[in-house]
Subunit: 385 residues, 2 copies
Amino acid sequence: MRQVAILGIGQIKVDEHWDLSLRELGGNAAFAAMQDAGMDKVDALFVGNMLSPLVSGQNQLGAFFSDWIGLWDQEAVKVEAACGSGAAALRSGLMAVASGDLDSALVVGVEKMTDKAGHDVTAALATAADADYEVEQGISFVGINALVMRRYMYEYGWKHEDFAPFSINSHANAMNNPYARLHEKISVEKFEKSSMVATPINLLDASPTGDGAAAAILVPAERVMSLPGKPRITIAGSASATDSIAVHSRKDPLFLNAAYLSSRKAYEMANVGPADIDVFELHDAFSIMSALSLEACGFAERGQGVRLGLDDEIGLNGRVPVCTRGGLKARGHPVGATGMYQIVEVVQQLRGECDKTQVDGAKVGMAQNIGGSGATILTHILTTN
Amino acid sequence: MRQVAILGIGQIKVDEHWDLSLRELGGNAAFAAMQDAGMDKVDALFVGNMLSPLVSGQNQLGAFFSDWIGLWDQEAVKVEAACGSGAAALRSGLMAVASGDLDSALVVGVEKMTDKAGHDVTAALATAADADYEVEQGISFVGINALVMRRYMYEYGWKHEDFAPFSINSHANAMNNPYARLHEKISVEKFEKSSMVATPINLLDASPTGDGAAAAILVPAERVMSLPGKPRITIAGSASATDSIAVHSRKDPLFLNAAYLSSRKAYEMANVGPADIDVFELHDAFSIMSALSLEACGFAERGQGVRLGLDDEIGLNGRVPVCTRGGLKARGHPVGATGMYQIVEVVQQLRGECDKTQVDGAKVGMAQNIGGSGATILTHILTTN
């Protein structure tokens, strides 16, 4: 397959956008990416989205957005893998350009969540879990994650406050990101006093949802080589893997096997290892997921992911800087858009555009996007030179 | 891009499957395709589906099915383009194998529709239209198609009974297809006396929905070459194009521009033209769509698609045999699965497995799958030698 580069990126602030329709949310991110790339036409559009049928009564987002943004006639399709939809759309666009069939692709992750009441959104998010064997029992999505976190604390002897550094790090980094939903520094004390959602997950363990959209333009890498002055950001590694959709069916509910598999494939494809990763945008939908993701990707031993936070190895000068633009926890988690925010943020790091949260000399960045409670996990590695 | 072949196919009868869950529907078609291909593992799963979030409360069908059918660990994703979801999933699988990143892919189109009451399904199907500018006005999906059909009759002077041959042909062909939902021969008289749905579309202009699933296994074409006795079915052409999602926004609501564009790209890629097509599985969701599809794909002049039915050019011995296994009209239209039924049926024709509806010596077959009222249209051309 031929090498593919990211030529342009775009995003909008994660927020409650009462004044922007679903069309405008995705459209604004798409326009920003096309402007950044200096292109007014692309061969195809790949949209990552999870909830539009349930929240907006709208399917067929491919044609929906290609119409709105003026890509008439062009190929367009929607890709869905729950909260992993954004990276899944990226991978679909990547395959099409890598195959040689298309010479450019626009990938947009978009989610409109705030048009529905909270309990409706909770019900819609539960469609990421197993409807027959999990949701039917009445458990919510956060409830499933709470069971995992509780078991992890029991097995490895961690206290709740040991997870605080993940949230504190994300909130601190988001202070410098104008596109982040939350701009509020937090402390261990505040973390511990936060309202309980589903024991042991409290409000500061959990990422806020929101309306959002992020986009990128893919082109053959050789094309970027001929554009003087454009940063050369290559998709060096891309892989997707799955696990059983219901957590109770897994051999080990405390190991993200799909993260392990997709990261290993991505490392191999990019010819790098964990030690080479300068920045890691991980999927901190809940603080427990940060720990599990770091362990599965080879940054920590089993049960020791929490240690990386406590030892400040996840900070901007640490061994593996994570959530450098605020992560899901503070940038916000507009579910089907999140994977593309992660990609945009890694590109910003590799371009050196991150101001106070810039990781010095970042050359290799990784993004990991998770659908469901670890059922679909996609890992992408971007490099620059 | 490297050439890709279809090594195995599978399908289940379109019906009201009260005894089969969503899992079992898709799983049974997947197992049949894997058995047909003689494979028990594939690199990835691509699922085409439109309604599962709305009808079954289930998203993330990639991981959902890879779990159920024992493809643990493997990549899996869902692709959605309304009623064009099946072919959209096929094209995603095709790109991944053509790129060289994957060496095999299972594509499953699946839809569970009968678990909800009719009015709920009608509302769910309306998500294929423009929620803000069509559905908000209270029009249903069949209502939109009725407006198009009425205008076509007015512009070109056709009577309602002139559309009868399309439905009669599909019903006659379905008599020989055990997987078809309807096994009932119809006549012009019966067609004219059928209950009105949305003037001028009556029950026999419209395809029946249902539960269904159809699947195919994709591998590099070179691999099939080394398997003696296996029919060599190659995906010679594949293209997707879009039009505005709302019919009222189109320059000409009576021309399927996305069918025109995707068929021309597919012809070019396969190096064939309309005259070379031995069998054409078109998307007869409504009888008017048969006429429009034939015109856009170069088989008839503007406004003259109906003529092909009246002159019996669409029959098994006609110039362009269509809906040889019953089409959407009589095989049934489980929306997100339909595109894969069409592919399976073209493969059956090229393999010579169609018994009484076999088109003699069929070597080049085309399938066209339509999302919405022509907003997303995918055309695939399969060849054998």
